[in-house]
Amino acid sequence: MKALILTSVIGIATLFAGVFKMRNNSVWVPLLGLLGVMLTIVADWNTNISWYNNMVRFDNYALAFSGITIAALIFILTISIDHYKGAGNSIADIYGLMVFSVVGAIVMSSFSNLAMLFIGVEILSIPVYILAGSNRRLTSSNESALKYFLMGSFASGILLFGIALVYGATQTLDLDQIALLGPTVQSPMLTIGVLMVLSGFLFKIAAAPFHFWAPDVYEGAPGLVTAFMATIVKTAAFAAFFRLFSTAFVSEESAWFKVLWGITAATLLAGNLTALFQTKMKRLLAYSSIAHAGYMLLAMLTLNKQAGGAILLYAASYTLATIAVFAVMLLVSEAQGSDSLAKFKGLRKNNPFLAVVLAIALFSMAGIPPLAGFFSKYYLFAIALKSNLFYIVIVAIVASIIGAWYYLKSLSMAFLDSDEAPEKIEVGLPTRIVLIACVIGALILGIRPDLILHLI
């Protein structure tokens, strides 16, 4: 609860930093504030208190996922110190919106009432719609914002319709009550409600066949916002998804299990296969994020509350790798004027540091030991096999082999010799710190995955 209140206050304080025209110094307000929020999360660990008539419950699950989203925002804000150099007055507003969006992420990982869930989804989404269009001079940014807004509103509407039907069938919004009443309610209204909530979530995490918006939106939005969407929005959506379906709707498993099974397979294959044909880094990362959503859906199929740890580990390692790749991509595309894969050719020649960071991050995404990505995939597959999900694990393994192909293909670009190699790219100190932190994080989680796996 402290984290939730403090983050909201930091958001408002950030807006004031804009009022007092602190310009590029305004980033320090959210940055230092969020470090403080991290401390309160550590202080609240193992408390497990529910607040305000069980509207939110800050158990370790909620705290851990809030921690990941806040850490991701700290990384993104640190990169933005270099990236937004010389931006106008509105920079504080952008930071403020990012912080508000994370308030939504905290609500989504801690809710224990469906009303809170819906408000959390909206608080998370609406600032991101605006952030996607924050580069007003670019048509692609406007297009991305409008597309995301329209599609997202429909998804929110379907989610809300589902919540209403669930409420109609069980006459309660409380997760514990729904879990209790669920098996006794025979109403088909509950089934339809659960399926509609499921579709709303599948849209938010961009699972096939609800994924068509993702590549366009990711490509059009400003780079840092895309990193925000790929990490924070996705992690928060999964936190809420798993929290809801592993507790309240687990008794309705017969309604959604087969649907989700098919969607998981479709997501794994669609994401990885389409990514093979991409020539632009941002689109490639968009499809790769769709594919990663597929791996995390595996944990959902286990119907096992213990799978939360595996999702947490996956989200952490995916976030670290994604932020590193995005930071490198931002630097290269700024220097080269485009994010097409060809522009990465010969990166190693003049920028060995960036090339090595890119290599480690992409290796981690592809799932190559001893990096975090390997063990997070390993634990997901292991827990799925324990639940007798044999066929879907085979699909996932095939998908990750395809995935390794395009990660390594884009990586080999960076290590090829080329006459058009990028000039030496200046890497500012803040970005350098983030890149090194991501690499060290990926290594530590690869060597000691139990640090996070048994956290919750």
């Binding site: 008539n53 509207m55 509105s90 507003d93 508000f100 809170m116 408000i119 608080i123 088909p188 339809i192």
Partner: protein, 165 residues
């Protein structure tokens, strides 16, 4: 008596909702939508939820619909300027919407009627009771919504203001 009013209002709301999507002229669409909202507000009054009915009329039929009308007029849309949609898109939309319709209808056919708490006895829709629920049971969602509105306002300013530098 209440039953007849219910059926009448339901008929009007479904009919006007259908007219909203089938009307060729966007201005007519908006006007039908206002009618649809009014009939839904009538349902709220039948459920003894006066506050909700009034808010519904003020917010939807008043504020949002007027905004809608302005946008439609400013865009100067009419039947001629409507872009031609390909047959494939129309067909897939019909199939997708139709399957959802079918699923809901079959599900609701199976659903049994739950004995409804008589709205005359429940006074949950009155302002006093609504306030009590909002500020006791749903205090946190009510307050946290302010973050949502604040970010929407900041966003409107961010997207709308002139760039000074």
């Amino acid at each position: 008596m209440t039953e007849y009013i219910f059926y009448f209002l339901s008929f009007v709301s479904v009919l006007t909702a259908l007219l909203v999507i089938s009307a060729r002229n966007p201005v007519h669409s908006v006007l039908y939508l206002i009618l649809c909202f009014f009939s839904i507000a009538g349902h709220y009054i039948l459920l003894n939820a006066q506050f909700l009915a009034i808010v519904h009329i003020i917010v939807y039929s008043g504020a949002i619909m007027v905004l809608f009308l302005f946008v439609v007029m400013l865009l100067n849309m009419n039947a001629e300027s409507e872009p031609k949609k390909p047959m494939f898109a129309k067909l897939s939309a019909v199939i997708a919407g139709g399957s959802l319709f079918l699923v809901i209808v079959t599900a609701l056919k199976k659903a049994e009627m739950v004995p409804v708490i008589s709205p005359a006895e429940s006074e949950i829709g009155l302002v006093k009771n609504l306030g009590k629920v909002l500020f006791n049971d749903f205090l946190l969602p009510f307050e946290i919504t302010s973050v949502l509105f604040l970010s929407a306002m900041v966003g409107a300013v961010l997207l709308g203001k002139k760039e000074l530098d």
